[in-house]
Structures are given as structure tokens and as C-alpha cells.
């Protein structure tokens, strides 16, 4: 370990502190500032002084106060015990802090991120004498019912394993392994990693499977691949956080890292209350058993908000390296960008657009690039899917954070104020959203239903046609349209109410499995095609739209559970027979030219 250097504070401006005398300190090293030993990070260096951004409230700090540093970069402590925990932006455990200090966070609090006294049951996989490469599996710990924690040789270390502890219960302080030629080294179950540095992997691979979220508009219309990146931009009240929560609850990732970055305290509390009670639809275990939370709410210090994003993604990479599919939800990246802006403004940087620093785009790119599917060093494939919420001021997507984000994500779920106002949730716009992952996930869906791609395309066509027709309707009213177009409007309405809209409080509707999605979409598209056929035979549109089955179809989403999708087939039968009845009624009138009826 490097030795400690000491210096003194020369100036304080909010969270930006200047200090002198820190010989040999490097950029991004951690320093402890003042009598409370507040944590800070060196962000600028010149010949005489260092500029430190302090992660805690520094009221009362004086010129002349001591600064010390052990010349190490800001790191997270990685090991068993991360799961189910809730941390602030610099990985301080909020539960332990509450136990130490009560309901409010005071400055200078110190608590180890991981429980150093808890015993974990370790089962070795490697054996003494093995020659190991970096990232090799040493053994396993059952971290929670849902997560088997693989203890890996930290990246950067390799060689012949001199000793490895046998099966048994160990704390994070216990000596677990040693390497030949490193007599002073004591390997433990946990290790440190600098947050601003990407963890190594063997190589990036391309994505294959979609991340299934149980949200119909996402899975069916705008799917995201495992290892993909997505942005959810939306003005206030459009449901960004609700959408993020729904994804964190239901997506089929192995591990969820939820970063509450500069958002509301009560929303984090909501997650904390809800996740232990909700069960994962696949494993049947509480969702909390696969979740790590980072909460740096809006009233907590701004610099810690800036770093919370990196803390979160580093933890995600750690689990990725064990071969897991990890999903990172960052809510909201705009608050993170604002933290950058605030700090850069205090440093007197020349601003670029809207006061944001010129390096905003670079930082965003670096963050999203840490997502992806990789071949890990030793655990097969792992992935990180990153979903970032964006909060554009005034809901205006042309602002810098939204604009730069769109350059680095491949999936864009635009939230629409008009939909949110009508309480149509999720308020993801089917007009403005897009995904670039269709080709990647197409094979996966085709294996489940060969007609998926075509059905989806037809449904999308109806919705886009509806959007076009609505422009005309605004000018001339719906009655002036040809009946075929009126039918399109009607079917689009069915799609919106019966498919796109999803109630996250309805026990049967909150999670919608892929089989149910395919079937509901298919029945609505089939309705449209049948109806078109009948219209062309002269059947009255009103007779079709007032069919009893229409109401049934719209209610399928909330009345049919995932284990009873055959009920949708019954509704399909019912629809067919009601159509035949209509057809029979129409037959005497339109029977003459039945053979000649052509679908347009």
C-alpha cells in the first residue's frame, strides 16, 4: 500500500475544495478532508494545489483544515452481501447508517459497505496447485436463494494457486487463497475495484435473446436485446419512474442494479417496500433477492450523485463477470448530467450547450458503452443491459442530454404527455419510439411463434395508419372517411385499450408473458382482417363494432392469467362464430357477388 500524503485546505466553494501540499497525489484519487474526514475525489491538479470534489456536506470546513490521502482511486468493495443491500452514491450502506445515526444522514459517517462479520458458506471449485488466469473461478457462495455468487480471482492477478480454503463458513476478512510468489498476499472473498475503470472481459459478443420485460409495448413492439441500451425520455408526470420500476420488477435479468440518481426519496422507499413483497414470476422468490439498490436522492450531496452511476455499473460488471445477465436501471441520467454541470460550473469551466460541460457526450458514451454482451474471462457469457431515464426540461427532446443520449442507445422509448394525461400507461409513444434490435431478437420470437413478425408488422401498420388518419379526422371528422378507414380507427382503439395500455396494479395485467402477448395481438389482428372482409361484402360497420366479443377482447389482458392463455383461444372461437353469424345475416343481401368479393 502507498503511504499517506497530507496537505491543508486553502479554499472552499460549495462541494469544491482546494488543497495544497498533497505531494504525489494523482487525478481521481480519494482524499479525506477536514476534521470529519469527508470523502472527496481529486478532479484537477496544478503545480501548487489540488481541487477536490467532496461527496458530503462540507459546511463548517475551514482553510487550514487537514487533508489526507492514501493515493488510491475511488473504489467499490465487491463481494457477497451486495444483493438486497441499499447504498448511497459512494457505496455506504444506508441500512447500517440508519442504525448508527437514526433517520437523518449526518456528515462524516463511516460504515463498511459489506458486512465484514457475517459468515458465508464457501465451496471451493479450484484446487491448490491449479494454474489460474485472471478471473478464474475459485469457488462459490450462496448469496441469496436466487443468486449463486462465484468467487473469482480478481482481474490483474494470475499464477499458481498456492493454497485455497476448504469448504466451510468464512467472513470477508478471512484468508481464502494465496498465490505462488506473493507471500504477503492474502486473498479474501471480497475485492476492490475502481469505479471509473471498466472491468476486463475476454471479448464482446453480439446479442441474441430479447430481455423479456412482461410489458407488451416493449416486448412486442420495441424489444430490447440482452446487453442492449435503452433510453426512456419524458417530461415530468409521464411515468419514467413507473416504467423503470415495472422493468426492474418484471424483466428476466438475473440481477437488477437500480440506481436512484437525484430522484425522490419516497420513490426509493416505494421500491424498498415493494420488492421484498413481490415475487419473481420465474423463480418464485422475492424480487429483493436479486436486486442491489443505489439511492442518492435529490437532497443528498450532488457530487455523490455524479459518482452513483459509476458505482452502480461497476457492481453490475462484477456480477456480469460471474456469467449473469444484469440489468441496470438509471433514474435519471439527466440528474447525473446536471451534477456534472454544477461541478463544472463551480470550477469555472467554459460551458457548451445550456451550461453543460463540453465533455457531457463523452461521459454519456463511456457510461452506455459499459453495457453489452460479453464472453467473460472464465464464466461463459454475461451481459449488462442499461436502461437510462432522461428528464428533459419542459419535456423538450431537443435538449442536450436527450440528444446526446440518442446517439449512444439503440432503443428509444419516448414517453408521451398526451398519453400520460389520459392515464394511458405505460405512456410509451408507438409513433416516436424505436428499436434497432428487431433483427437480433427475431429468431428468438420466431421459435415461439412463426407468425410473430408478420402479426407485429400488421399491428404496427394499423397504428401508423391510425396516426395518419387522425390528421384527416381532425379536419373533416370521422364520418367522412371510407368505412375501411373507419374500421382502422376502431381497431387501433382496440389495440390501444386492449394491448398497449397495461395496468401495473392489476394482478393479472402487471406482468404479461410472451405467449399471452402473442395471442392477444393475434386475435386483434385477426379481428381486423375478418372485419375488413365482411365490410367488403357490404356488412354494416356498426354491426361489427357492436359485436359482443369486442368488449371481451379488450378485457382479455386483465381477465386471462398467464397460465390460462387457452381462454384466449376460446375468445377466438367466439369471435369466429359471431363473425359467421354476421356473415350469414349479410349473405342474402350480399350473397350474389360473394365469389367476387375481394379484400382490398
Amino acid at each position: 500500500m502507498k503511504e499517506t500524503v497530507r496537505g491543508v485546505v486553502t479554499g472552499v466553494n460549495g462541494p469544491i475544495v482546494r488543497a495544497r501540499g498533497l505531494q504525489g497525489i494523482r487525478m481521481l484519487d480519494i482524499a479525506e478532508v477536514g476534521p470529519h474526514r469527508l470523502i472527496g475525489e481529486v478532479i484537477r491538479l496544478d503545480a501548487e494545489s489540488a481541487v477536490i470534489q467532496v461527496y458530503e456536506d462540507d459546511t463548517g470546513l475551514k482553510p487550514g483544515d487537514e487533508v489526507s490521502s492514501s493515493c488510491r482511486p475511488l473504489s467499490v468493495h465487491l463481494g457477497p452481501g451486495l444483493i438486497s443491500n441499499i447504498y448511497d452514491g459512494i457505496q455506504r450502506p444506508l441500512v447500517d447508517i440508519a442504525a448508527l445515526q437514526g433517520s437523518h444522514i449526518r456528515k462524516g459517517v463511516k460504515a463498511p459497505p459489506l458486512d465484514m462479520k457475517r459468515r458465508w458458506h464457501f465451496t471451493p471449485v479450484a484446487a491448490a496447485g491449479d494454474v489460474l488466469a485472471p478471473g478464474a473461478i475459485l469457488g462459490e457462495v450462496r448469496e441469496s436463494e436466487s443468486v449463486l455468487h462465484r468467487i473469482l480471482l480478481p482481474p490483474g492477478l494470475s499464477g499458481k494457486l498456492e493454497r485455497l480454503a476448504g469448504e466451510g463458513d468464512y467472513t470477508l476478512e478471512d484468508d481464502i487463497f494465496g498465490l505462488q510468489g506473493m507471500p504477503d498476499f492474502r486473498g479474501t472473498l471480497a475485492s476492490f475495484w475502481p469505479v471509473r475503470q471498466q472491468r476486463p472481459y475476454a471479448k464482446k459478443v453480439s446479442a441474441g435473446a430479447p430481455l423479456i420485460t412482461g410489458q407488451r409495448i416493449i416486448d412486442t413492439f420495441f424489444p430490447i436485446a440482452r446487453g442492449g441500451t435503452a433510453a426512456i425520455p419524458g417530461g415530468f408526470g409521464t411515468g419514467k419512474t413507473m416504467t423503470q420500476h415495472a422493468l426492474a420488477k418484471w424483466c428476466d435479468a438475473d440481477i437488477i442494479v437500480y440506481i436512484g440518481c437525484g430522484e425522490r426519496g419516497n420513490e426509493m422507499t416505494d421500491v424498498l417496500n415493494e420488492f421484498p413483497r413481490l415475487t419473481d414470476p420465474r423463480s418464485g422468490r422475492p424480487l429483493m433477492e436479486r436486486t442491489v439498490m443505489i439511492a442518492n436522492t435529490s437532497n443528498m450531496p450532488v457530487p455523490a450523485r455524479e459518482v452513483s452511476i459509476y458505482t452502480g455499473i461497476t457492481i453490475a460488471e462484477y456480477y456480469r463477470d460471474m456469467g449473469y445477465g444484469v440489468a441496470v436501471m438509471a433514474d435519471s441520467t439527466s440528474r447525473w448530467a446536471e451534477a456534472l454541470r454544477e461541478l463544472s460550473s463551480r470550477l469555472g469551466d467554459m460551458p457548451a450547450e445550456e451550461g453543460f460541460p463540453p465533455y457531457l457526450a463523452t461521459r454519456l458514451a463511456e457510461f452506455y458503452e459499459r453495457a453489452g454482451c460479453v464472453e467473460t474471462l472464465s464464466c461463459g457469457e454475461g451481459s449488462i443491459t442499461t436502461i437510462g431515464a432522461v428528464s428533459p426540461p419542459g419535456g423538450d427532446f431537443s435538449e442536450p442530454v436527450t440528444q446526446h443520449t440518442t446517439r449512444f442507445v439503440r432503443c428509444f422509448w419516448a414517453l408521451d404527455k398526451v398519453l400520460a394525461d389520459a392515464r394511458h400507461y405505460p405512456s410509451i409513444s408507438w409513433i416516436d419510439s424505436y428499436t434497432e434490435y428487431i433483427d437480433e431478437v427475431r429468431d428468438w420470437w420466431n421459435e415461439r411463434d412463426a407468425s410473430w413478425f408478420d402479426t407485429r408488422r400488421e399491428a404496427m401498420h394499423i397504428l401508423l395508419e391510425d396516426d395518419r388518419l387522425q390528421q384527416i379526422v381532425k379536419l373533416v371528422g370521422p364520418d367522412s372517411l371510407p368505412v375501411q378507414d373507419q374500421l382502422t380507427l376502431f381497431t387501433a382503439e382496440m389495440l390501444k385499450n386492449g394491448f398497449l395500455q397495461q395496468n401495473s396494479f392489476d394482478p393479472k395485467d402487471m406482468y404479461c408473458g410472451t405467449a399471452k402477448q402473442i395471442k392477444i395481438l393475434a386475435i386483434i389482428v385477426a379481428f381486423h382482417n375478418e372485419a375488413r372482409e365482411l365490410l367488403s361484402r357490404g356488412v354494416d360497420l356498426k354491426a361489427i363494432t357492436s359485436m359482443q366479443v369486442v368488449g371481451e377482447i379488450i378485457r382479455l389482458k386483465s381477465e386471462v392469467g398467464d397460465h390460462e392463455v387457452q381462454l384466449i383461444d376460446e375468445a377466438n372461437q367466439m369471435m369466429k362464430s359471431q363473425f359467421s353469424a354476421l356473415n350469414a345475416e349479410a349473405a342474402p343481401a350480399g350473397g350474389g357477388n360473394r365469389e367476387g368479393a375481394v379484400a382490398p
Binding site: T10, G11, V12, N13, G14, T59, G60, L61, K62, P63, G64, I86, L94, V95, I97, A98, S103, H104, I105, G235, F236, G237, G260, R264, G265, N266, M268, T269, D270, L272, N273, A295, T297, S298, N299, V302, R335, E338, E342, S345, P351, E354, G355, S391, P393, G394, D421, A422, R423, V473, K474, L475, V476, G477, D479, N497, F505, G551, I554, R555
Partner: protein, 463 residues
């Protein structure tokens, strides 16, 4: 404290900031006393400190100060105010000092006005429904104990009357408990403050109310402390005395302007409309002081009021507020012009905490579905109205015309009510069903069949 040294003379004065040189041992954020040559005492706070100089923001403003003959004393701790239950029924100035002629409250408890962030883990998720007696709020944008729910208004609209009505009528359904009120006026005219005080007096809650006044003629920088001082008292009442506190803050737009003034005189890089880049963080340090804490009985519910310049909801102040608060009550000029009281906009208003505070055992089982359906139908009314204004009502389908009728009935029977009309939640929900029954049953796709059977009034009966 012994270490207090008085420094004489200032190096510079710029806007609300004064610069003192040759200082030693001064901490960031600490309180400063500035004594002018006439002996007048002003308070300030250190906003930047170097090895031998300090920048001090003077709360009372710098007018009348000169460079010579000024004595500054650094107090060595941040601004603190005394807090006690005895402060109810009293009036204070913008810095929390008595302004009603009565002496300073005697108490040992001094608290830092900046407060401390609540640990997210220690928060109790707010779930208790507050009945305000206003249908547009109770039925569709429910207020929850521990919530921060602002009123977005415009000049001339009755935001003050609505806030006073809420303060007067707010009750918990379960216990009928009343609220202790902390009223904060920032940069508003005296008559606005008078209106609130009179209204508290009439409804007999004045002795249960603490009033903090930084009126339009008070120094602008003082306003940066006013909400913090008031919330410090609110925190004491809620989390030490375990009371339920309703904090009304008016007008947050004035607060933000003071912040802009300070930021500009410090020469900071502005973001939108000249407001500082940290406006979001600064506002959240006020709004996030609302809430509930595990294991404590009390709560802080905030109703900040802000006027949107030219009714523009995308203006930085309402915009950033909306990102922090748990919803918003938006007043609509068009409804106001048609003399609908309260003119609460049907669609842009929202309560984020509503989902967990209503339903069986809290309000009524049909509440969530009913509210969702009203929103959806009213959204359609708005769409049809804009269509009708182009193609004419005659061109509309029969169903669309029924929707227009629903819109009228909704605005006049559901939204509209008297300033002193206190509707129970049952009444609100029943009116909701009566209004919804204007529409044919099959239009109600967001409500469960069961509820429709129980509450829907088929058209024959409705006639």
C-alpha cells in the same frame, strides 16, 4: 464563544454579497453578523472562503452598507433557529425572528435551518388519504399525508383560496385528526398574507398555526432562508412533537427569483432563463423535507404554490418543481374564465402517491378504476372538442356528442363546487358515477365488471 473576532471594513460589496479580507479560521456556510456604523445588525452566511478572504451573502441585503466602518463577526456555526411547540400561534419574519411584538420563544432546542437529508431507508412510504373535501383533488389527485403536492397557478387565479380551503378542510378519514399549519409567505404582498391569516382565524386554526412572513418589501435574499427556517420548525413539530404538519409555501417563484439574483451577482454560469444550474438541487433541498419517518408518528405535508409566468408550465420553476414533487395540481385559465371554481385542470394534474392511498379499506374499492375512467373519458372530451371546433358539432358521431355532454356535466357537477363546500369522499365518488353514467356502459373499459354492476346508473334511471 471566545474565538469571535470582529473584523473591521469590507473589501468589496457586490449585489447581496460582501467580501471580507484578512480573515482567519472561517468555515464554509457559517453564520456572520454584520454591524453597520449606525449599529444596525444584519445576518449573513459564508458562501465561499479562501485562505485570507471570505464571501458573505447578506440576508437583509447590502443597501446602505459602506466599505468602511463595518464590523463583521463570524459566529462559527451555521444559522440556527430556536424551535418549540410554543411557536404555534405566532408570527415570525423571514429569518425566523418574532415579528408580532411578543418576545423570543424560550427554548433550549436550536436547530440548523439547513436540516439534514432523510435517509431513504428510514422513510415511511406515505399512504394515508387526506380528505380535502374538494372533489377534483380527493377523487382524481388524492393528497396523501407526507406528500409534497404543489399548486401550479397563474396570476389572478384562485390558488390562495384553494390552499386556504385545503388548510381549513383537510382531515384524515381514519382519525379525523386536524393539521397543524406552518404558513410561509415569500415575496407576496401583505394582502395575500392577510387573507391567509384571516382565513385561519375564521376557521379557528390560527392558534395552531405558525406564520413566517418575508413579504414583497422585505430584502430578497432573506427569502432564501424563510422556507428553511419554517421547515426546520415543521421538522421539530413533526418528528419530535409527533404532530401532523401541513406546510403551505407561497410563492415559490419568488424564492427562485431570489436565488437567481444571488447566483447572478456571484457571476455563476446560468442555465435556463438565467436560473442557476443547481436550481433543481436547491429546490429539492426544500421539497424533500416533506415526508414521514419510520417509527415516528408525525408527518410533513407540503403544498407549495407557484405562479407560472404567462401560464407556461415548461418554465424552469414549475418544470423543476414537477420533477421533484409527487404530482401537481394545475389550475387552468380556460376553466377559470368560465367561472368554474376550483379551476383544477382535469388532465395535467396528477398525484403520484394516489395509487397506494386509495381503494378498499382506505377510500372505496371502486376509486382507482373510477378515477382512471374519468381521466380517460375527459381526455377524449378534449380531443372531440378540438375536432368539433373545426368540423362543427353536427358532423360528430352520436357517441362523440354524448361525450361532449359528459364533458359539460363533469365540469359543472364534479369539478365545480363551492369555496366552503366540504364534500365527503363518498359524495365525490357518487358524483363521479352519476357523471360517468351519462356515457353508455360499454365505454367504461377501465372499470371492473363488478364495480360497473354495483354503481353504474343505467340510462332509464338516470333520466
Amino acid at each position: 464563544m471566545n474565538r469571535e473576532i470582529e473584523y473591521t471594513g469590507l473589501a468589496a460589496i457586490r449585489g447581496p454579497l460582501v467580501f471580507v479580507e484578512g480573515v482567519r479560521n472561517v468555515g464554509f456556510g457559517e453564520l456572520v453578523e454584520i454591524r453597520s456604523s449606525t449599529g444596525e445588525l444584519r445576518l449573513g452566511q459564508v458562501v465561499e472562503v479562501d485562505e485570507d478572504s471570505a464571501a458573505v451573502q447578506v440576508f437583509e441585503g447590502t443597501s446602505g452598507l459602506s466599505l468602511e466602518g463595518i464590523g463583521t463577526t463570524f459566529i462559527g456555526r451555521p444559522l440556527e433557529i430556536p424551535v418549540s411547540r410554543e411557536m404555534l400561534g405566532r408570527v415570525f419574519d423571514g429569518l425566523g425572528r418574532p415579528a408580532d411584538g411578543a418576545p423570543q420563544v424560550t427554548t433550549d432546542v436550536m436547530m440548523d435551518v439547513n436540516g439534514l437529508p432523510i435517509n431513504p431507508y428510514s422513510r415511511e412510504y406515505p399512504r394515508d388519504f387526506i380528505q380535502t373535501g374538494i372533489s377534483a383533488i380527493d377523487g382524481m389527485n388524492t393528497l396523501i399525508r407526507g406528500q409534497k403536492l404543489p399548486i401550479f397557478s397563474g396570476s389572478g387565479m384562485p390558488h390562495n383560496r384553494i390552499a386556504a380551503q385545503i388548510a381549513r378542510q383537510a382531515r384524515l378519514l381514519t382519525s379525523g385528526e386536524e393539521f397543524t399549519v406552518v404558513f410561509v409567505a415569500m415575496g407576496v404582498k401583505f394582502d395575500v398574507a392577510r387573507f391567509f391569516i384571516d382565513s385561519f382565524e375564521k376557521s379557528g386554526v390560527l392558534e395552531n398555526t405558525a406564520v413566517f412572513l418575508s413579504l414583497a418589501n422585505s430584502p430578497s435574499i432573506e427569502r432564501l432562508i424563510t422556507p428553511r427556517a419554517a421547515l426546520t420548525l415543521a421538522e421539530h413539530l413533526a418528528f419530535t412533537e409527533e404532530m401532523h404538519v401541513l406546510v403551505i409555501l407561497t410563492d415559490m417563484s419568488n424564492y427562485c427569483e431570489s436565488l437567481r439574483e444571488l447566483s447572478s451577482s456571484r457571476g455563476e454560469v446560468p442555465s435556463r432563463k438565467g436560473y442557476p444550474g443547481y436550481l433543481y438541487s436547491d429546490l429539492s433541498s426544500i421539497y424533500e423535507r416533506a415526508g414521514r419517518i419510520k417509527g415516528k408518528n408525525g408527518s410533513i405535508t407540503q403544498i407549495p404554490i407557484l405562479t407560472m409566468p404567462s401560464d407556461d408550465i415548461s418554465h424552469p420553476v414549475p418544470d423543476l418543481t414537477g420533477y421533484i414533487t409527487e404530482g401537481q395540481i394545475v389550475l387552468e385559465r380556460e376553466l377559470f374564465n368560465r367561472s368554474v371554481y376550483p379551476p383544477i385542470a382535469g388532465l395535467p394534474s396528477l398525484s403520484r402517491l394516489m395509487k397506494d392511498g386509495i381503494g378498499e379499506g382506505r377510500t372505496r374499492k371502486d376509486h382507482a378504476g373510477l378515477a382512471a375512467q374519468l381521466f380517460a373519458c375527459y381526455a377524449r372530451v378534449k380531443r372531440i372538442r378540438s375536432l368539433a371546433s373545426i368540423v362543427g358539432e353536427e358532423e360528430l358521431t352520436e357517441l362523440d356528442r354524448t361525450y361532449l355532454k359528459f364533458g359539460e356535466v363533469f365540469e359543472h357537477q364534479y369539478l365545480s363546487q363551492g369555496e366552503f363546500e366540504n364534500r365527503s369522499i363518498e359524495t365525490t365518488l357518487d358524483i363521479g358515477w352519476r357523471v360517468l353514467s351519462v356515457l353508455p356502459e360499454k365505454e367504461l373499459y377501465r372499470i371492473s365488471r363488478e364495480d360497473i354492476q354495483k354503481y353504474y346508473i343505467p340510462s332509464e334511471e338516470a333520466q
